[in-house]
């Protein structure tokens, strides 16, 4: 019951594909793996002129279940990415995940895209980082 991770570069984005349940059991391993991905990406990414593209995409299309620990992992990645100046997008068509993210007010923090194409589009429907945030 382990989650699998597979990462690659796509159109200036770092795409991390996950397969398996994103739950309390997967959380510890995934936390360190995503931390590593964010740090590596922060070190080598080339931000665009408006610094909007080129963040991290977490592809959850092969993830049937996300619990609150799993969301915590994604939020951890988001915060780390935010500190390094880029965003995190999620690819998922799961209605359940959409419901949960909406309920937690996370749709602006972790924008959900239906596919990799739109998630890696240069100007996706991603809210620009809130300058007053920090």
């Amino acid at each position: 019951m382990h989650i699998q991770l597979d990462a690659s570069d796509l159109r200036g984005w770092r795409v991390v594909r996950l397969a398996g349940d994103l739950d309390v059991y997967a959380a510890p391993d995934l936390t360190s793996a995503l931390t590593q991905e964010v740090d590596d990406w922060a070190a080598r990414r080339t931000p665009g002129p408006d610094d909007r593209g080129g963040g991290l995409v977490v592809d959850l299309q092969q993830v049937p279940f996300v619990d609150s620990s799993g969301l915590g992992v994604l939020l951890g990645a988001y915060r780390r990415a935010q500190a390094a100046g880029f965003g995190v997008r999620v690819v998922s068509t799961s209605e359940e995940l959409g419901t949960t993210l909406t309920m937690m007010g996370l749709t602006a923090v972790l924008p959900v895209h239906p596919d990799l194409d739109s998630a890696t589009a240069p100007s996706g429907p991603e809210a620009p980082p809130d300058d007053g945030a920090s």
Partner: protein, 794 residues
């Protein structure tokens, strides 16, 4: 010319698997058509397309039979070029011609033919045994057949030998075996195979690792592996311990370079028995000389090799190697099992029960485990000798306490292989620690030896200590425990300390009874290895227990609501359901307090994560919300906004959801039921419910939910107002109530609405209502912690 019936080989019963094989002729005059294959001579192999009647591939021997032809070529043309005739040199007629028979899809089990053979000495006819095997079973070779020409001994020569053997057997009534002349011995042993029963294999040279694509039934008969078991694998599965690596290396080199090769090697049947297999591998090439397949002709030549002791030796060493390997394997398995079993539980008692079950009977006849209680720890010899702090070795409690308590040790688990002796072992285990003499304690390794000491070995102190009742007398005081041990009749015993991080956490005693060999050094090494693992597991369980107790205690103290917490105008019911899995501590919390202006404030929240860290973050978060909410009359949105800022400032970076609801004192309206306007703000938390007495249920929802806490301290938070009337219940909960692996959040909330409506129709009391809701929503033990708060106006 013979008909096909008489040219078929006559199968000699038991021939194919006889060990040692008797001579093929079995002392009888050779039947017509039976030939004796010379396994050392190379065979010619053709691959024929049956539909097209064309020879597609040939090995180099076959190419030599018809050297002038270029492949692919018609089968008849090839037969003509090779000048195939019958065994006596007469022309083959159409019906008897092997290639014609194959083309009619007739398997040719064996037929004698002859072919012209040119050499420097002129032309002569060579007797051949032709076997044709349709390859219909092979996936990519359907409609193909393998035609193999095997060189055979001259018929006349064979006939002479058979007759000679027959005569000898009849006169000397010796074993019915071909008795060759001494000078001929090697040749005859080499040839001890009939053409029938030869096993053939075809391997695909174009596929990685050259897997078998076809084997004939004789292969199954010889090796015991079925077609399905064999095909798809490289034929090295026949090898095993004792197979000569140099031989297999030579074969591999030949195959890698596309050469043919013949080797004799020790192979193993499916049932594990060994046989000497002479394998002739021949590359089959296409028109371009590219190797497409390898045809293997395998001959069980065990008889030849088995005549001498060589095979026996090989078998013996193979068997020893196998036994040793199996033993090593089972030990490794046992160790792995110990780790798995012990790490699967954080309950020390359960771990000990599992451990003794694993130890018996795989390592010993009986096992007893004693562990140190959490309150006392045995000092390690290292810490004593190093002059470090000395733990309570024997005097942790008052001298009047039982000796076992003084040791800090408790026997917690024991098991005997023999059900009839379990009672005696139990009596021994329950009393043994109290009955130990000083020498007995020493023998248990409690003080002197961390590694384990064996009783019954050559050690001067302990030599045959348990051989007699007198030996026992030195270790234990007279009494039921000693008597019980005598009943077990131990032939050897060892006690090993279970240690972790320099501390002894328990001792493991293993013993053998009279029906089993005493423990060996190997057993002792294994016992120490197991003890190391068990010690780590026990330590982990203990740490876990302490941590769990700490977290649970923290949780309990935090979730306790003081009786006067809630203002007069509200009535509150709270429930906290801990997860069934003891391994987790949730970050769920609730709180109820009054503001200076008299409003009641109800808080529910959930810190992400399930560990002590989450529990600690929960404690901080709860106190931040309470402090910010109680010092003034800030509304819930202001409280949450400041909480977020304070969390960041305090370094609490664990995300959390929270919902804060303020219930001002009800309006004073004499002619109406009391009601109040709720003010609430929600930071990513599942929406609270407003349950009407009529069963109507509303969600406290805004168009958008604000972001959860701990992400963006600058988040703007909304304040929303909703009216709460007398008789209506405000229900707050954490996601454990509604979300499960098989139940998405939205679905769970819908179910909760229904459950709440049903509950409200039966009761208006918040205590009864939360119980009814919990019963409906959590029929089985939950996998997550759940917090629920219900509030009504008085």
């Amino acid at each position: 010319m013979d008909g096909s019936e008489t040219t078929e080989a006559h199968e000699v019963p038991g021939q194919r698997r006889s060990t040692p094989p008797s001579s093929p002729v079995s002392g009888r005059v050779l039947p017509r058509g039976v030939a004796q294959v010379r396994p050392e001579a190379p065979a010619a192999v053709l691959m024929v397309d049956l539909e097209a009647r064309r020879v597609l591939y040939a090995n180099e021997v076959a190419v030599q039979m018809a050297p002038s032809l270029a492949l692919p070529v018609g089968a008849d043309e090839w037969a003509a070029a090779a000048d195939l005739r019958d065994i006596d040199g007469e022309a083959l007629d159409e019906t008897a011609h092997p290639l014609s028979r194959i083309a009619r899809f007739e398997p040719v089990a064996g037929q004698g033919v002859s072919a012209a053979r040119s050499s420097d000495l002129g032309e002569r006819r060579e007797p051949l045994w032709v076997v044709a095997l349709p390859l219909d079973d092979a996936p990519n070779l359907r409609g193909h057949a393998l035609v193999v020409f095997l060189p055979v001994r001259d018929r006349d020569e064979l006939q002479e030998r058979a007759e000679a053997a027959h005569a000898r057997t009849a006169s000397a009534s010796a074993a019915p075996e071909l008795q060759p002349a001494p000078s001929d011995a090697v040749a005859v042993r080499e040839a001890a195979v009939l053409a029938t029963g030869l096993s053939f294999t075809v391997a695909d040279a174009n596929v990685e690792d050259m897997p078998l694509v076809w084997v004939n039934p004789a292969f199954t008969a010889v090796t015991g592996y079925t077609f399905e078991q064999a095909v798809g694998h490289n034929c090295r599965f026949l090898q095993g311990p004792g197979t000569d690596r140099a031989t297999t290396q030579r074969m591999r080199e030949a195959l890698d370079t596309g050469r043919s090769v013949t080797e004799t090697l020790l192979n193993f049947r499916a049932d594990g028995t060994a046989f000497w297999n002479q394998v002739a591998m021949s590359p089959i090439t296409d028109a371009d000389g590219r190797v497409t397949h390898y045809v293997g002709i395998q001959t069980d030549v065990s008889g030849r090799v088995a005549a001498d002791a060589e095979r026996d030796r090989a078998l013996a060493s193979e068997k020893a190697a196998r036994t040793a390997a199996e033993e090593a394997h089972s030990r490794l398995q046992l160790l792995a099992e110990v780790s798995t079993q012990l790490s699967a539980t954080t309950d020390a008692r359960q771990a000990c029960d599992r451990l003794v079950q694993l130890l018996v009977p795989s390592v010993a006849d009986f096992a007893v485990l004693a562990v140190v209680g959490d309150d006392a720890v045995l000092a390690s010899p290292e810490s004593r000798s190093a002059g470090g702090p000395v733990g309570p070795v024997v005097a942790a409690t008052a001298p009047s306490a039982p000796a076992s308590a003084r040791l800090g040790l408790h026997d917690v688990a024991w098991h005997h292989h023999d059900p009839d002796l379990r009672d005696a072992l139990g009596r021994h285990a329950q009393g043994r620690l109290a009955a130990l003499t000083a020498r007995g304690r020493d023998a248990l390794g409690l003080v002197t030896r961390p590694g384990g000491s064996r009783l019954g070995d050559d050690d001067a102190q302990r030599a045959s200590a348990l051989d007699t009742a007198e030996g026992l007398a030195g270790l234990m005081r007279r009494g039921p425990a000693r008597d019980a041990l005598a009943e077990l009749q131990p032939s050897s015993m060892t006690t090993v300390a279970l240690r972790s991080r320099e501390r002894t956490l328990g001792v493991m005693t293993l013993g053998t009874g009279p029906g089993r060999a005493p423990l060996t050094d190997d057993d002792l090494a294994l016992a120490r290895d197991i003890a190391t693992r068990a010690g780590l597991a026990l330590d982990r369980a203990r740490l876990y227990r302490q941590q769990r107790d700490l977290a649970a205690g923290l949780q309990r103290s935090l979730l306790h609501l003081s009786p006067n917490a809630a203002p007069e105008h509200v009535k509150v019911a709270v429930r906290y359901v801990a997860a069934a899995e003891a391994a987790q501590v949730g970050g769920d919390f609730y709180d109820v307090y009054a503001q200076p202006g008299g409003s009641a404030v109800v808080v529910i929240g959930d810190v992400m994560g399930h560990d002590t860290l989450a529990a600690a973050a929960m404690a901080q978060l709860r106190s931040i919300v309470r402090t910010l909410g109680m010092v003034g009359d800030d509304d819930p949105a202001q409280v949450l906004t400041r909480t977020d800022v304070l969390m960041r400032a305090s370094g609490i970076d664990t995300p959390a959801t929270a919902s804060v609801v303020r219930l001002p004192t009800p309006d004073e309206q004499p002619d109406e039921q009391p009601s109040t306007v709720l003010e609430w703000s929600n930071a990513g938390h599942p929406p609270p419910l407003l349950i009407g007495a009529d069963g109507g249920v509303r969600l406290l929802e805004a168009a958008d939910t604000d972001l959860l806490l701990g992400i963006e301290p600058g988040t703007q938070r909304r304040l929303t107002r909703s009216r709460l009337r007398a008789g209506e219940t405000l229900l707050l909960y954490t996601d454990g109530l509604v979300e499960r692996r098989d139940q998405p959040l939205g679905e769970g909330i819908a179910l909760l609405r229904e459950a709440a409506a049903r509950a409200a129709s039966t009761t208006g009391d918040p205590e009864e209502l939360v119980d009814a809701v919990l019963a409906a929503m959590l029929p089985a033990p939950s996998s997550d912690d759940v917090a629920v708060v219900a509030v009504v106006l008085r």
